[in-house]
Amino acid sequence: MRKYNVQVWLYTRYFVKVMLDNVSVLLYTVGLPILFLGLNLKSYFFKTVSLAQYTKLVLPFIAWIIVANTMVMVSEVALLREQGYLKQYASLVVNPSVFIISKAVVNLMLVGVILGLVAAVSALLFRVAFVAVLWRLWSVLLLVSVPIWGYCLPILSFRLRYQTVSGIINVVTLVVMIGSVAIGHALHLTITNVAANVLSPVYLVMNCFNVLVIGDWRNFLPGYLVACLGLGLVGWLSYRHLQLLPAEGL
């Protein structure tokens, strides 16, 4: 287990270096969600927003940030595979989950920074308490990490050519988000709706934040646990069918 942890640590450090190597992409990744948030909610600028309002107004953006960034991380693993990287390095590491866990840690760090900025911007523009929003956003990120990786990991079970990875990621992200919005319109936000928590990452993210505001854990936990276990199982099965070889034989 120690060797596995060291391998995850080394790969996390390497992937962070890769991320910091391209500052313009990093700034775009961090800045774009903040820009969209501002553009869409400018009518609420400098008005006091309650946490219940904040959940409905801002949390769909948070869901998009988490899902989109996780999709990008998964696509980067797929691109590494298409470059022959997984095939070579898989024989070096304890098992290929080292790559995925390392990417998940990098994703947590990156999204954690973005959510920190969102909290700061929210405190400035919507007059919400910075610390009260920040700890809830970070807690939401931790709570939804496993289910959202469960949404994204099936992509690694399919053989995709290098050129098609980005297109597939964009399509899947759009389908997940539009589907989530459709479910959101069809259903009222209720923390007890198990199916909606499983099927919609937007719904799940909003509910996680909501429960951290209202504290109704007893009604929330069954739906959350089903989402966690169900999507965790999807992720595990996807990992079992992980494709290590590039689609175009190198």
Binding site: R2, V6, W9, L10, Y11, Y14, V18, G84, L92, L250
Partner: protein, 225 residues
């Protein structure tokens, strides 16, 4: 290593690509795999590494490592970062100094890495970059080492360094895909496997190879790969 009755069919293909393929890889020596582009060399290697499902028997199962033809690495990282990544993963070390390196790698690798230890990847030539990874991976202890065209795009001086490192670990079984007949001369004993028409067409040792007439089918084949 015995490969018996190996049959492999590509996903969605109706006919097997390899059918009842049988051959041997003598252990603790270098085995060269030659064949034209598209002959299935990399596919065969994938099967031997356990990366493609197949029918048949491969005995014994050896721990293995695979070295790709070319692997992109971040140009902004330094040689020492690559060393920490490869050797750290293998040894469980989070940090690695040049002083530590002497106890972890063989002499030729130490001699090659020492002068470029702090240099960024972008400052190295393509051949040097490739050799950095090849030599570091060859420090990883595995029974079967598979090298996919390791001498492509590197000069003969660097190829000689690679072969010196390979000879420094004679206890391993090597399988090397190559298109360069000059690679064979670096080893005192070897086997050459010629893959064509989805079969191992010939399997010859060094003495047989060197005695073969230039007009023989096997030698003619090597001229064309």
């Amino acid at each position: 290593m015995d490969i018996e009755q190996l049959t492999y069919t590509f996903p969605k293909a109706l006919q097997p690509f390899f059918k009842d393929l049988s051959f041997q890889l003598p252990e603790h020596q270098v085995n060269f795999l030659i064949g034209q582009n598209g002959a299935g060399k990399t596919t065969l290697v994938d099967i031997l590494l356990g990366l493609r499902p197949f029918k048949g028997h491969i005995t014994p199962t050896l721990t293995n490592i695979y070295l790709n033809q070319q692997l992109p690495m971040l140009t902004s990282i330094r040689v020492c970062d690559v060393a920490v990544l490869v050797l750290g993963i293998e040894t469980g070390r989070r940090r690695l100094t040049l002083a530590d390196l002497a106890s972890l790698v063989d002499g030729p690798t130490l001699a090659f890495l020492t002068p470029i230890w702090e240099r960024h990847y972008r400052e190295l030539s393509g051949g040097q970059r490739k050799l950095v990874q090849l030599l570091l991976f060859l420090q990883v202890d595995r029974e079967l080492v598979v090298l996919d065209e390791p001498t492509a795009m590197i000069d003969r001086e660097h190829a000689a360094t690679l072969f010196t490192v390979m000879r420094a670990h004679p206890d391993r079984t090597y399988l090397m895909i190559t298109h360069d007949v000059r690679d064979l001369a670096a080893f005192p004993a070897y086997q050459v496997l010629w893959l064509a028409d989805h079969q191992i067409k010939a399997s010859v040792d060094r003495a047989t190879f060197e005695a073969a007439l230039p007009q023989s089918a096997f030698m003619q084949a090597f001229q064309t790969v």
